[in-house]
Amino acid sequence: MSGHRLSQGGLIDRSAPLKFTFDGKPYQGFRGDTLASAILANGVSLVGRSFKYHRPRGIMTASSAEPNALVELREGARTEPNTRMTMVELYDGLIAKSQNRWPSLNFDIGSINQLASPIFVAGFYYKTFMWPKAFWEKLYEPMIRRAAGLGRATHEPDPDRYEKAYAHCDVLVIGAGPAGLSAAVTAGRAGARVLLADEGPVLGGSLLYENEEIDATSGSDWAQEVVAELVSLRDVTLMPRTTVFGWYDDNIFGAVERVADHKMVPGPHEPRQRYWRILAKRAILATGAEERALVFGGNDRPGVMLASAVRSYVNRYAVSPGRTAIVFTNNASGYRTSRDLRSKGIRVAAVMDSRKDAPKLDSGGAPIVAGAVITRVEGGRDIERVAFERGRGQERLECDFVAMSGGFNPNVHLACHRGAKPEWKEDIQAFSAPRNGSRFVAVGAANGSMLISQCLREGAEAGAQAANEAGFRSKAAPTPLTKDESYNIKPLWWVKEGSSKAFVDFQNDVTAKDILLTVQEGYRHVELTKRYTTLGMATDGGRMSGINGSGIVAEATGKSIAEVGTTTFRPYYTPVSFGVIAGPFKGHHFQPVRQTPLHEWAEENGAVFVETGLWMRSSWFPRKGESDWLESVIREVKATRESVGLCDVSTLGKIDIQGSDAAEFLNRVYCNGWNTLEVGKARYGLMLREDGIVFDDGTTSRLGEDHFFMTTTTANAARVMSHLEFCHQALWPDLDVQYVSVTEQWAQMAVAGPMARRSLQKICENVELNDQTFPYLAAKEIKILGGVTARLFRISFSGEHAYELSVPADYGNMTARALMHAGREFGITPYGVEALSVMRIEKGHVAGGELNGTTTATDLGLERMMSKKKDYIGRMMAQREEMTRKDREMVVGIRPVNQNDRLRAGAHILSKGDAASMENDQGYVSSVAFSPMLGRWVGLALCKRGRERHGEIVQLFDGVYGVHLEAELCDPVHYDKENRKLYA
């Protein structure tokens, strides 16, 4: 509890105090604080509990790699779990809660897991919960789920908006530290369109907290000057609070801009976050490097922090994590921290350098202990001392916080997202970004360059090169004067002395010994180690743990770390919320809604709609007093068959086909012939796929010598159009034919039943409808309702004397209303797709259940349609042995023997006396309906040798519904077998 605010300094606004609460307790911070710096300033060091052992945890970093300090932010519908305190900008009224603790953060029952830690070793899931098997679902899994885990998501809908946006630029610069700023300003001066993205709210990167001198000004002042120049450049866009999370094909980058996460509530018309897709001609990776933790006993205790994080809190936020520090390092970073602490008057008990031959570096006056390693961090709630060794047995030294540095890992992630592996650099003992060609280059610390002068020079050079390659003329300015601090390092992957837990992955509680055990058990590949231990699989994506893990595997297997390599880097670099991935596409914006041109008419008549793909189709039209859909459907069918019904069939695909080769084109895409179709006539057409299976069906009419009007099924409308385009463009480009989808241009309605003609006649202008002018399959343009051009087709899906009437879409509702008026004396009845389906099943017409992508024309009983005189899509493959086997499943009618039994689609057919087994399976019921005309359930089925078996009594078996009954195979046409009504 010794963290405190320093009396001066820092980039915080002390005139703007902000109130916030953590676990219900009120605290105060300043504008410019993060939640992490503010809570440290208030002396709070314990902020969370670890995943597996529920160990007390504190803030370890000042960056987006934070593994420990995860909290639940905000309340109610805006609750967001697992937010990193280090990335949360403080605002007035902020509310945060700790996670994974019960009943409270300070007294947590789950921490007894530590006592049971022998069973939580690597692979414990696989070893511990294996038996008895029944315990898994009932006991183990619920127990693990409750004990483990991080924050909880809210069940309330997110009240905030999220946007998606696209950007194009000449040069994308990722990271606004010294390298990124010089890259951006160099490219920007040349006039290039530059985007500069940085995950922080203030641009400057490490310059915001490091004591650097650039051209005789402080690093942070230099950064502000460059930012001011960038703001003045017209084609430069600055994107603070924007994390570039992934690199994709064609130099496209994904990014999330946190537009309003730093506010209590987003402003009016402001999204919370914005999801960017950025297409960059050239991109520059200037993401810097993340400091590496050291692996030693008790390195996870609150108060053990990265050395650079300590500098960040002290210099940028004017917060000291404690009163007395011990620095543990294997490189120059520790000395720099010691100097910065001393300059602020904070005591440094010692700099412990693991290198026996440590170079003489300036610790700012703190004692240096060379060749020393910390073996254990000791204390009660707070750190009291460390135990260390330097070859004289165990010694102890008092302190209340520890700053550690194991070196630096370049942030190479984005450069590896498209498959390249990072390159091991011996001199810095780290993996740096791979070469990916000049479209995406790494500079500065991301490139393994640890000196400030290198960062500035590489940034400027890459900025100039990128601008030149994007078509501008640019030259890097001379590198500013800096004071470089030399960097050298001797690796220290794991302090083996000491017996207490030394953590590698802090978030998933993976220790060095877990990795050792894993290697001993044979999982020697680093990808296997990762999965067996869960190393690097937490929400921090292994940013703090991955390379240390590789180092320990290397030591344990006797390989070099370059040979061991890293696990695969994949997007996302940091966690991305589901809200921003979904963007605005939720609720009724999830997908478009297609309404037919007769939608209003259907609504006026009380339609119940059903989603069919994107379409809303009228399903049935309930009337007062009707208790269920079946009652309405029965009425609609009877009314249609006895008098006249009106149905919206506008969703059918409609394609207008013209050209001197139009008939030939149809010959090649349909299996039946079209040369003999007269002008003014319609014909049923059947399309196959090239593999011989039925693709689609519909009627196509010849409106002129070179003009056809094709209809397709609703489901295949788009697919048939693409298919026609493919066939014409890729197979037969010489055909003189043009075609266009007119599905949405025409409203189409079926008028069916004995009184259809008399109803229609009343709205026709210039034609007398009779069997001479309009015989079955006539298709002609007519005038209706005072001159509206319409197309009338005498075709029937219901089996009735029926017509389909097409009018331009805008006349759809008007025409349907006029027909309702015209048919009133006959009791004209709107019917929906349910009644339509009942009537087609009564008539044995095949539809989706039978045209299911497995059936041939022969299976459907349509083999005579397959022409032998011409080439067409599917002709050859339809002749294969398999496609012409006699015992294929083919369409047959089916009806229960007991007139009162109900049929269900999906029930399997078994021969009489056979047991229900796969071997005995004869096929299945594909479509069923209650036939109002026959007063019983009827259906269609796909049954082996079905056509030879009319009259056979079979069993129907349906294990799902528990149905087992007798049924009769029969002719598919259940109603009006002689087609008398069609021609009536």
């Binding site: 064609d250 493919f726 463009q729």
Partner: protein, 92 residues
């Protein structure tokens, strides 16, 4: 990713629909003796690591079918041509 449509210029890949290998050529013969040729055309596909010719459909654009030369390893599309011209180039 962007794909150059011969008619519309560079367009985002989301406007396109992928079909597959453009190398197999539809046989001209309907004689039973050509069955093996047909079988190859309908079913047999190479799965190269490297450059291949592919049919793409500019379905969210001008509705042209195009043939793109794409490297399956890098996803780089080095050239595109209208399927119509590709077919004519084969003598169709």
């Amino acid at each position: 990713m962007r794909i150059r449509c011969p008619y519309c210029g560079e367009r985002p890949s989301e406007e396109f629909t992928y079909l597959g290998d453009a190398a197999p050529e539809r046989p001209l013969s309907n004689e039973p003796s050509s069955m093996d040729e047909w079988f190859d055309y309908v079913y047999l596909r190479d799965n190269p690591k490297g450059v291949m010719q592919e049919y793409w459909h500019h379905s969210g654009g001008c509705r042209s079918w195009i043939v793109a030369v794409r490297d399956t390893e890098t996803h780089e599309i080095s050239s595109t041509v209208a399927a119509r011209d590709f077919a004519k180039g084969r003598g169709r």
